[in-house]
Structures are given as C-alpha cells and as structure tokens.
Symmetry: C2
C-alpha cells in the first residue's frame, strides 16, 4: 500500500460495522422478533454442538458496592468474541438500566474486529432464545401453558420465544408488582398468546407444563417452594444468575434433574449454588449432541439452571454479523487506524492536518 | 421517567462519547503531540502513586497461530477501564496493522460506559509517555543524546516524548531497514531534534546517555550485546513485550538495575523472561512514591523493562475523557438502550416501529 498515492480518507480496512440501539431495533423489526430469536437459537445450538472447540473461561468481574461490570470473552480459535455487561440493581431508581451491554466479534487470524454492537436488546433476545432451545429438549411434549413468575424486561422475550419455538399458547403471569404484569399483558396483546394475570405464584403455576422464573431481586428468595411443584414439569430458572441470588427452594433441586450451561460458572451463580459441587448435573451441550439424555419420563422434573454463558453471546454476535448484509441496518465506525504505510502511524497524524483542520469538528 | 411522555429519540443517557481515529488525530493536533504525551505521563504518574488502590490482573489472551487478542481490564473501585489490543506480526504483509486497539472507560458505580475510543494511536502515545516518565526518574541528569534502535511506528513518539520531557536534542537512529530510519528522520524534520541515521547499532549508541530499543521481531533477538553497553546509561527496552520476544543479551540484565511495571506480567513478557523469577527488580510505582531508589550513581546502568500495563491505558483513557470537553472532538454513539420504563425493553422495540420504519436505513 505504500506505493499508492497518499489517501487522506480512512480505507475500508479502518471501518468496523456498528449496530446502534436504533439499528438493533430496525434489525429486529425487519425480520420479526420471533424469527430473530429462532435464528439465534439455531446459532447457539450449532456452537454448543462444537463445545469442545471453544476456549471457555469464567467471566472476568470488576466489583463495586453498587454492582458489577463483567467481560465475557470466548474464542473458537478462528473467531473471538466478548461481551461487556453490567449489573447494577439500584440503577432503576435513577432512571438507568439495571443491565446494559455491548459486544465485539473479531477475526482472530488478523485481530481486527468485524462487528461492534449494542447488546442490551441482543442479550434479552439471546437469553430467551437460549431458554426456549433448552426447553425443546427438556419440556414435556405438547406443552401449551407456561407460568412466568417475574414480569420484568426479560419476560416478554421469554413468552414470545416459547410461543414460537415450543408452541406455547397460554401464559400465566405473576409479579409482586401487578403493574409489571399489566405491562407484559399489554405488550403481548397482539402476539397471539392468551395472557392470564395471576394473583399468586400458586395460581400462576396451575396447569402449567413449563414454569419460567425470571425475578430481579439480587438476593436469595424462595419464589417456588417444594410443595408448589408437581411432577412432570420443566422449570426454566432464569433469574438466579449471580452469587447470592437464587429463586428456588433447595428441596426442588433435589427432586429435579438439573441441566446447566457450564458447571464451573453455574456453581458460582446459579441455583446450583445451593448444592454440593459434586451433585450430579448434565451439561446441555451433551444433550444437544446426543451424548446425554434430556427428558426421559413423564414424571421427571427437569430444571434448566440458566446463568448465561459467553458462547451464547458469541452465537448471537455471529447471527447479527450474518444478518447485516441482508438488512443493511448498521453504520461504519472509524475505529481502526490505517496508515498507508503500517509503520507510519505518526506520519498519518502529521498528514491528516492538511486535510482535517479545514473541516468542522 | 415512566410518567413523562413517550420519547422516541434516545435520551442523553443512551449516548456514549466516542473518539474515532479521525477525532483522535484532531485531538492530538488541537493541543500538540508533545503536550498530549506530557499530559498522559502526568495521569500515569498520578495513577501509579495510588497503585495499591487498583485491581491488578494479568491481561486475558486469546491465541491463534497468527497472533493474539488481549483484554486488559483494571479498576480503582470507582472507575473501570479496559483495552482491547491485538498483536499479529504477519498483518503488515496484507496492508493491515500489527497492533490495533480500542478502549472503554466506565463509571463502576452505575456500570455505564463514559468513553469509547480508538486506542491504536492512543497506545502509541501512552507507551512513549510511559517510557519518558520512567526515564525522568532513571536516566542520567542532563541527558541530551538518545539512541533509538528499531525505527518503526513507535519510534517517532518515543523521540518526541524524550525531547519534551527529558530535554533530548540528538537522536541516533538505527534500523535493519534503512528506509525505516529515513521515514523517521523525515517525520522529525521540523521537530527541533537533530537526527543522525546510523549504519550499525554500535554506531547508534556512540555517545548516547539513553538507549531505546523498540524492534518489532517476535522472537528472541540480541539487539544489544554486553560489550556494547558502557556504564552510566539508561536503557529503555520497549520492544520485548511478549512471551519468547526479547532484545537484550542476558549479561546486560545482570549488570543492570531493572525497573518494571508489574513483576508478574514482566516475567512472562519482558526481558525479565531471561532471569529467575526471584532476581531482584524494582517496581516503578515505588520509585515514583519515594519508597524505592531510582538512579543512585553515575556508573549505574538502569533498565526499564517495559511491557505495557493496564493502569497506563486506564490513565490514558482518563486523560482523553478529561480532554474532550475542551476540544469537542468526539461523537455521541447510540450504544445503550434507554427505555422510558427501564423494565419495558420490548415495549421500546414495539413503539420504535411507529417512528423508525419511516426513516431511511
């Protein structure tokens, strides 16, 4: 490139595709939220099927009294991805999100990023897609009714993913704040789902084949007690996702077959915190690969102890990257310095003066 | 916020200040490259003086045969920062940079990013600033001549930082590729530095009080042999910065007092690789804090075994954040979802349809 004339505009090499919040919403609307989640689920399943090719690390946290920021990197040896995500339960008091995130996908053979994207919306989509994917292997066949306990930001996505991927027709919603349930019902009004707002958790799980718990309290709570849970159900436990935060009574765990993403992480963050490290659990990737059984009887209680894992974000990032050429809903970000001569970084700064300083900032 | 009318445009909470490559160059030009590096050096010194308040981790790597991508996070309990950086020595063959990077600074009490910036240029600036800062404590008083061995992308910045912060007037440049030395001399033509291009490393270090080695080869090389280095000099060893890559003969290390950033990392990546783990080294922060001696005699050989550490990037990010209100050279990036009701993420997607789909993508 050093033989070509000096080019004062960034080359294509300098640009990284960027998906803003606005463009993520456009992408979701362009193909539909259910299709989007089904697509992510397919990518997650593909990546779980090649589980052993991934570099798996626990997430890397930075703690403050108010919350945590985590980096979640992973790589398959050719592609690298990471998510930045925070969790600050007090944020909503100040009009801020409890959880926000963004992520990057890179070509590991060159080190260059190929996608930079918001991941607040994308994490909500991938979490629901991941739950529905697990339920395809674990929930009773022909499930039509799902109880959803905790009707916050994640609940809409869970209901829509289970409708699309499991055939759920009826939602029984409970939240300690009935305004949250009303909000959920309003958003799902034209979705084709029948939503019943329930006054108690007991009422909500009445007749449900699938029980989704997705509460936000950052402490141990007993959303479900042992006597509430009958045989044969599938429990999709999404809310217990950090140290000290659980949703289910320990006795339920002892009656369930427990399925997890990555045992090392689930034991720190999931319902699994309540059990000894050597309590038997099944890794989901083994179920998808046919190496372990999913549901094996009508009476079995299956429990997906979901905490969220880096490979799910990696799959979601791959899905978005592959979607963008189809929708065109992205911008190009001038993120990478690209001097004509790679050794001449300072020369690029020097030469840019002639061009740049005449322009408006 | 749920009582206010529905706002279809992102609020200020949704935006993160973003410094593109173009805007980084504008910022550098706005205040001058030397002032910029002196400013970063002041911030690095401030942060090294509160060394013990930082959460210090070795960098987190993802490897491929072609190179590595690293995440370098750190936090002081109130602010969190990380850098993404790659190192791919074969990239220049394809017109790509060997090293590119970007970084994020966040408010750890809310988890929200407060700065997203390119860090290819910024890393070059902070590396030179960091070298010059160390040399202020370690180089012989009244140094006027610096040898610089390796005349690639980092060399210009090193020369300018040492001119500004140490009073260097004469540069003696050597590179195995003489075109690289010519490039360096051309870029420094109007800097006020006298640049002499030398035919051998021996020639370059003739009369130099400071010897900077900043070669790019990713293997062990002996840029300096023992008999080349006289007493009383300061060696600023910048190029040996990853496992298996060193620049100095081991015997030089044995005659030197060695100063390092973070021993755990330097022992993996620096010249220190060639010595036993228990060989004595001095941590720079202790020199800055007056807890350890820097240069203590005219005959002493001091060696700064530089590998680059996360706290230096953290300081550089802080400097840029504080500079932006003054220069205005940044954009606002729509990175964070900010629904009117923090619980209503899906509702935000639903409502955006009315507004967004009429606009061009």
């Amino acid at each position: 490139m050093s033989n070509s004339p000096i080019n004062l505009l960034p080359s294509d090499l300098a640009y990284v595709p960027f998906v803003s919040v606005d463009n993520m919403m456009r992408n979701v609307r362009a193909i539909g939220v259910e299709t989007f989640m089904r697509g992510i689920a397919e990518y997650i399943e593909q990546d779980f099927l090649r589980w052993e090719s991934f570099d798996k690390k626990p997430r890397i946290p930075a703690h403050a009294p108010q919350g945590v920021i985590e980096l979640m990197p992973t790589s398959d040896g050719k592609t690298f991805g990471f998510k930045y995500v925070n969790g600050h339960p007090g944020n909503t008091r100040d009009g801020l999100q409890t959880v926000t995130g963004f992520g990057v996908l890179s070509n590991l053979t060159t080190g260059y990023p190929v996608l930079f994207t918001e991941m607040t919306i994308l994490t909500a989509l991938r979490t629901a897609a991941n739950s529905a994917l697990a339920a395809k292997y674990l929930a009773p066949r022909g499930s039509t009714t799902m109880a959803i306990i905790g009707n916050g930001a994640q609940s809409d996505f869970q209901c829509l993913a289970f409708k699309d991927m499991l055939g759920i027709t009826d939602i029984r919603a409970y939240d300690i704040d009935s305004a949250a349930s009303l909000r959920l019902a309003r958003n799902l009004a034209n979705s084709g789902l029948n939503v019943t707002i329930c006054k108690t958790p007991e009422d909500a799980i009445e007749g449900a084949q699938i029980i989704t718990t997705v509460t936000a309290d950052k402490k141990s709570a007993t959303i479900l007690t042992d006597n509430m849970v009958g045989t044969g159900v599938h429990i999709n436990a999404v809310g217990g996702d950090c140290p000290g935060k659980t949703e289910l009574h320990r006795d339920i765990l002892l009656r369930s077959d427990i399925f997890v993403e990555f045992p090392d992480q689930t034991h720190i963050e999931g319902e699994f915190q309540q059990l000894d490290r050597d309590h038997p659990v099944t890794e989901l990737w083994q179920v998808y690969a046919g190496k372990a059984e999913g549901r094996n009887s009508q009476d079995q209680i299956t429990l997906f102890d979901s905490v969220g894992f880096a490979i799910e974000d990696f799959a979601a990032l791959r899905y978005v990257r592959d979607l963008l050429p189809r929708t065109g809903h992205f911008e190009k970000l001038d993120l990478l310095a690209d001097p004509d001569d790679p050794r001449d970084l300072y020369g690029m700064v020097l030469r840019s003066a002639a061009n740049g300083d005449n322009q408006a900032a």
